[in-house]
Symmetry: D2
Subunit: 330 residues, 4 copies
């Protein structure tokens, strides 16, 4: 049996796994991309729960870094970074609901797909930044253009990394804030969690009528923490299937794969992101899987798994997960 | 001589210290108060550099906590907290400029002025919070109503604290973000710096045309760090004199009093807020006061002063200051 | 071919993989266990590079928690926790060298082996602690005794977790400090990295003549981060093979398995532990594997792996790893 | 009346303010200085409660930086830094007691007293360090020699800073750890709190028989946070009066002056140091000054004062204080 049949999305979603209409959100239809996630932008389309959307995402540099001679400081202008498709309205979504996003596939877009990785001055984990202010000279500015296909990312003559695409930024609108697309928080945002790839389902809390879904920032691969500040950023065709779960009260994003369920927290310092993730996971196990709260807490101390999304964005992201096999009653 | 004559505001401002028109921003004129600081709200008035505005601010609980029996969890609804007056447009302000706000006075409003201090569940420095997530039971919920006048804050039968009012939240709009009024950042926001009282001048970087000034959150007094999460919050009549400094490129808020100049940073963890503040102060001394960069850095290690604004908001705020006497050439 | 033939230990160690004498460090021979890692304690034995030691470790509670009615606050006395075997002197070890510890096996000790997991007041990641001081009431105090064997850890009627033993605390003496065995740092210490199990090799920098090796704190299994503060702590028979690498200048612990190499950092906040780990890994790749420094940094942003050891000890521990396949020249 | 008559030291100390014998702890008598604070070193003298000791302290660089051409990396050798006098045994001190240290005076030592301030590579708040590991190039290495006397610190042609001496490092031994003298913690250590000057009384918890008092690291002046990593370090003659308070159970250092009482915490991140300080102060007010716990917490939110000691040492130090006038019953 396909594990999806048994997923939270299929079991609790309005569409119950029944595929609806397919929409195309091409670059042309998107028109103006967005740099903040919030309630103030014009919807680009409205879909029904169960519908599929094929989204043409731009890379995080909006395609402006074309060669290795193009430097971020010349081509990019803060805060106009990490362009997002959307907002997509989901019919019937209200505050207190959850939107489920099943990523069906992420494919490179264009004839000769290439990814881009930049070392950006005062950005990344091993350099002084705007927030971790240092008087040291910045690191060198470097642009790498990397050939890729659905097999691999051809990093260098020496190294080929498997193609493991995922969506870096996935969000519903906050209730009143409009947050730049570089920042993750409890609305989703720039989480950069490598598990958010094809096959995964992300659950995001609805904070405003219609939910207002934003998506962008595809990565062809990414290491834990995205240490230098950027992944292999690329333009993608990403296909998502979207459903609505009514009256599911969650405070932070969650994720499901065939193997595990994960709660995701974003904060600084990094221990706070990790605390949020584990706190949410403990509460989840107690509320929905029949564990005693303290048993869940102590058990995760033995079998919990942590994924570091990023520790370079304005807030850092951590996922805490448990394998589904431990959730089953026996 | 009045020290203001020698202030940055008077020497570099468009109005050069010449007082313009006086505007009243009463509760009635304000109408709808704002809970986010951003570019999407309707301006409430436009003023010229040099103009004075008399602002009727509401307390951070919007006056909803009327008795000690009113509990925050009953009366307040996140995120509709910390109501802000504004936005006030400043004629001629453009990205790259600075708006100077001289606080002339902060007076209690109403016949029997009382302040409010609440212990709010999962909020404050010595309790688990949404971000520093803990499984412990929350602290008790407590409301205190405190009589006050321009002499003192009558905390308890035992303790009277001097009236030392200041503005907790003072902001210009970010360029594209719309940030809830509980959060400080480089646009200003909920800094809770006790030095921001009558007589002080705050300098904020302009990020959008017209600057869009927001103000609110008066405190009758506040300890360093605002440890329990709230100060003596009160409704005030606050008089400000606003000027515009063209082409002053600053990244974070700054403050001036007769005695000192201060750079203000907001971030988590707290060392990052402190780093920002000192970094900005070092750069300021090098750029505008003729110090060698390393001399400034090493000298602040001997005479720098740190004020902890808050360590309870979504970002923590720190001011790093140097006494003006050390800035003078001899 | 056994991967060990190709390990750093075998290729650079004084013994070149040649097994020396086997020593037994029974409880009796150990006599007094140690609660600090430092240069002031009496050596328990001296071995040659290449020698094997079979160590009888006590559990982190020194066996004092015998039933689920035994509470930590009654039975334990801070700082006399986490007893360590050693110090074992390694002949010829000098400051500037590295000791390699290959863990051959970790087996439960005793007839009816049981592990112990405790919820200790003011200890763990989701509660206020001595350092993250909170006014909330502490969590309940709970003791769990868990049956285990070399197949599994029988956590509850519902859940069985695979037996994945590892050593929680492995150290050489600092040069002048004597550090309690609860704290990890650049000498090793209480790192709680689940990768430090049978088959792994740990590399620790020598800071004093003879190296002074300490070992203890076996876990039958542990989740990433050891979130509640304790793992399934058990008494073990652990067999290690120890070698000496002359003149290898490393600042922090490192680890090797058949699949990966890892650098380990311990610090607070958690991002600093992660920074150390990635910094050391970048430098390692540049110095010993022929990568350009910036290429290594940017590449780890695509394929680096992070393991959270603990975020409950006085310092938090993170390992940053790269798969060996990426280190090979092609 | 001298405020000391009303101090905790005079009211609760064994000597009740009665001055005992005066001892001289000259450089010669000290002989070997210490680089760790712990239970393993040889006592240099034993004194009675009430005795006075005149201590010749060395500067933090042990006098090795003699000219501005002497660079730390050439002259200093980690971890042999921040030499301490002691340990001084206090007769009758036992675990559970407190030692009170009243600093009577701190005077420059030598004919032409000069202080030293160094910019040390990878040390300080605005640079990457060993723990906040960064790939940026280090800052320049700079040595400053500064003339000083009991009036002022002659920083540069332009700037004179008042002489405000204090003791940077003051400690009793931990129970089993031996901690390098660069690190503060709950035993005292390298706190770098500017309030610890002449006239102040520091209270430290006794953890071992005889208390084992260490002292050193005089600063002629220091800014909040000691931002560049070093103060104006100088050789001093420091006179202390030491008393013993039996059965006072405190967990962290405390300080008293004529104006205020302060609790001192040391930890990373900086918010944890601040939490400890305020937590201890709240508990102190509740336990010994008759405040309701929640009243104390909420009141400090209105009138608490925070002093940043350092945010450059391996742990950061913060003092939280309340003015004595608020502690009096009325």
């Amino acid at each position: 049996m396909n594990w999806l049949e048994d997923s939270i999305m299929y079991k609790r979603g309005v569409a119950s796994g029944k595929l609806g209409e397919t929409h195309e959100l091409s670059e042309g239809r998107q028109g103006k991309f967005h740099y903040t996630i919030g309630p103030y932008s014009e919807p680009v389309m409205e879909i029904e729960p169960g519908d599929r959307v094929i989204v043409e995402t731009r890379d995080a540099f909006e395609g402006k870094i074309k060669t290795e001679q193009d430097l971020p400081s010349q081509k990019l202008q803060v805060p106009f970074l990490n362009p997002q498709n959307g907002p997509i309205m989901i019919t019937g979504a209200e505050k207190g609901d959850v939107v489920a996003i099943h990523i069906e596939s992420i494919k490179p877009r264009g004839d000769n797909p290439r990814g881009t990785c930049c070392l950006i001055p005062r950005f990344g984990a091993l350099t002084g930044t705007e927030y971790t202010a240092m008087l040291n000279d910045p690191l060198p500015e470097i642009t790498r253009k990397i050939n890729l296909d659905e097999e691999g990312v051809y990093w260098s003559k020496r190294v080929m990394i498997p193609y493991r695409p995922h969506i870096g930024t996935l969000s519903l609108s906050p209730e009143i804030d409009s947050i730049n697309s570089l920042t993750p928080d409890n609305h989703g945002g720039n989480m950069d969690v490598p598990d958010m790839g094809p096959g995964s389902i992300t659950y995001l809390p609805v904070r405003s009528a219609g939910a207002r879904l934003f998506i962008g920032d595809a990565h062809a691969c990414q290491g834990d923490g995205e240490v230098c500040g950027t992944a292999v950023e690329f333009a993608s065709t990403t296909t998502i299937n979207v459903d609505l779960i009514k009256n599911w009260d969650i405070a932070w994003p969650r994720l499901e794969t065939d193997q595990l369920v994960m709660a995701i927290g974003s904060a600084r310092p990094l221990e706070d992101a990790t605390r949020i993730a584990y706190y949410e996971l403990v509460q989840w196990m107690a509320k929905e899987y029949g564990f005693d709260l303290w048993d869940a807490y102590m058990m995760l101390s033995q079998c919990g798994q942590v994924r570091l999304g990023n520790f370079v964005d304005p807030k850092y992201t951590v996922g805490a997960a448990i394998r589904k096999k431990y959730l089953k009653s026996i």
